[in-house]
């Protein structure tokens, strides 16, 4: 199994969710995150005082998938998240040893 993590622009969440559903993913976890990459932050001005805000709002989407689906799923997420502008985010995957469905105790791919 693989854990796919995507840190992307918050307003792409709906598109990504729809694309994943169409692909056949049944569950995902979303958390609000903040960070910066190449685009750095932005500048805000309060009564003439300029503040550089380093960390910009992002969302982190996490999905567990079977190994065979991983590469294709990454493509689906990347396509749905892309706006073509700086700050679109990153997607990566990690190997996962095991997973358990809490309600039934099923293990491995059956738990997905």
């Amino acid at each position: 199994m693989k854990l796919i993590t995507a840190v992307v622009k918050p307003h792409r969440l709906d598109e990504i969710k729809e694309a994943l559903q169409a692909f056949g993913v049944h569950g995902l976890t979303v958390t609000e995150a903040s960070g910066y990459g190449r685009q750095r932050g932005h500048t805000e001005v309060y009564r003439g005082a300029e503040y550089t805000v380093d960390l910009v709002p992002k969302i982190r989407i996490e999905v567990l998938v079977e190994d065979a689906d991983a590469d294709q799923l990454i493509e689906v997420v990347v396509k749905a998240a892309r706006t073509g502008k700086i700050g679109d985010g990153k997607v990566w995957s990690l190997p996962v040893d095991t997973a358990v469905r809490v309600r039934t105790g099923e293990r491995g791919p059956d738990a997905l």
Partner: protein
């Protein structure tokens, strides 16, 4: 029977129900400005001291009301000498229920309550300069002393018939000197003594809630009609002039500030709109009874642009006027008070026309006297008081407490709890019920 009827007939015209209703409602409008100010300031600080900022204004409603009842009104408005009133009305006693204030037809007690609301908001205005860093007990002691030594006498100078500035024909319709320059200068005096916040000019100190700031500015604007039009004390044509000028100047100042910051910094900001409106309200306060609506547009624009430029001075001269009390209230108050010397039409105050209305420089000279006297007196007294309080009990919280956040340390509260997970659990007693807070067993907090 006959003498009684004569007495009644003589008594009846002394009080005017229309004027009394107008003034009591105006007093209530001015009262709501203090909570409005609390939100205006509270939204502008970081989240860790939002409650403290609200409390610094709210506590003034408690402290000053009691002092006003005990001796404040008497020292401010009973006849006395040019400097302050006598104690004849201490405890709000010896005030005839049917006695009107001067020739207004309004009971003295109604006038006392109207003026109380001014006495409440003026010390509260100072709090914005001291954000994030002062002990709550030191603050309450400060406003009690400052009101006694500075506000009550200065209100007498400016508004009592025998006040020394009133006798010299200084025009201050609703408090440009007594309220705004007074509070702004005091703020400057205190911050020069207690110093900057940790991280000033280094750490980002963004407003935590601009919607609260806008709400506060809206309440201030609303209440200010009571503040300015109500200062006529009677429901008449001058009150209508004051009401009109208040609206016109505030609108112009908001536009002035917004245009300035768009040209200078690139955006129209909500904080700029709120600040510009307040700057206009401040500047029109002394002038609202004596200038024309067109004069108000000019004054508003000057105040909006002037204050927007003035709030940057703290970075150049390196004093931490946290929420720009000096930049908005002192500078706005000075602009409004001096503008009377140019824009006073002389219609309401014959013989007191300004430079632009053929009155020469006489009135401008008087305005300079009023501005200088109040500014100097308040600044010096506030600095001395702050120094004394600092020596006796320490004005500031410790650096650790400042970093942690004053809400948690001094008030044992947090402004917002958005955690659904219960990150902060209740202190549970052995039987699982929530234990009663016990000051002796919990960490001793030196407020």
């Amino acid at each position: 029977m006959a003498p009684a009827i004569i007495t009644l007939a003589a008594d009846a015209p002394k009080l005017d129900s229309g004027n009394t209703a107008f003034l009591l409602l105006s007093a209530a409008l001015v009262m709501v400005m203090t909570p409005g100010l609390a939100f205006f300031y509270g939204g502008m600080v970081r989240v860790k001291s939002a409650l403290n900022m609200l409390m610094m204004s709210f506590i003034s409603l408690g402290i000053i009301t009691i002092l006003w009842t005990l001796y404040g009104f008497s020292f401010a408005f009973h006849s006395g000498n040019g400097f302050m009133g006598s104690g004849g009305w201490a405890g709000l006693r010896n005030i005839g229920m049917g006695e009107p204030w001067l020739s207004t037809g309004v009971p003295i007690l109604a006038f006392a309550m109207f003026q109380l609301m001014f006495a409440v908001i003026t010390p509260a205005l100072i709090s914005g300069a001291l954000a994030d860093r002062v002990k709550f007990t030191a603050w309450t002691l400060f406003i009690a002393l400052w009101a006694t030594i500075v506000y009550f006498p200065v209100a007498h100078w400016v508004w009592a018939p025998d006040g020394w500035l009133a006798k010299r024909h200084v025009l201050d319709f609703a408090g440009g000197t007594a309220v705004h320059i007074n509070a702004g200068a005091a703020a400057l005096g205190v911050i020069l003594v207690i110093g900057k916040r940790k991280g000033f000019k280094k750490d980002p100190m963004r407003p935590h809630s601009l919607p609260l700031v806008m709400l506060g500015a809206g309440l201030l604007w609303f209440g200010w009609f009571g503040f300015n039009a109500g200062s006529e004390l009677t429901a008449d044509k001058v009150a209508s002039v004051a009401f009109t000028n208040t609206q016109v100047a505030t609108a112009a100042a908001m536009l002035g500030w917004l245009i300035y910051e768009r040209l200078r910094h690139g955006s129209f900001t909500t904080l700029g709109a709120a600040s510009g409106a307040v700057a206009g309200l401040v500047a029109i306060t002394p002038a609202c009874g004596s200038i024309s609506p067109l004069g108000s547009i000019l004054l508003g624009l000057v105040a909006g642009v002037g204050c927007a430029a003035a709030v940057g001075l703290k970075y150049r001269f390196n004093y931490d006027d946290s929420l720009d009390v000096v930049g908005v209230h002192m500078v706005g108050g000075i602009i409004g008070s001096l503008a009377i010397g140019f824009l006073s039409t002389g219609t309401v105050y014959p013989g007191q026309a300004g430079v632009f209305y053929g009155g020469g420089w006489t009135q401008f000279g008087r305005q300079c006297l009023g501005v200088g006297a109040v500014l100097g007196y308040s600044l010096v007294c506030a600095a001395i008081l702050a120094k004394l309080i600092d020596l006796v009990m320490g004005f500031r919280v410790t650096e650790d407490e400042e970093v942690t956040g004053i809400d948690q340390v001094l008030h044992a509260e947090t402004a917002y709890d958005f955690t659904g997970v219960g990150g902060r659990s209740a202190a549970l007693a052995g039987d699982g019920s929530i234990s009663e807070a016990d000051a002796s067993s919990s960490k001793k907090v030196d407020a």
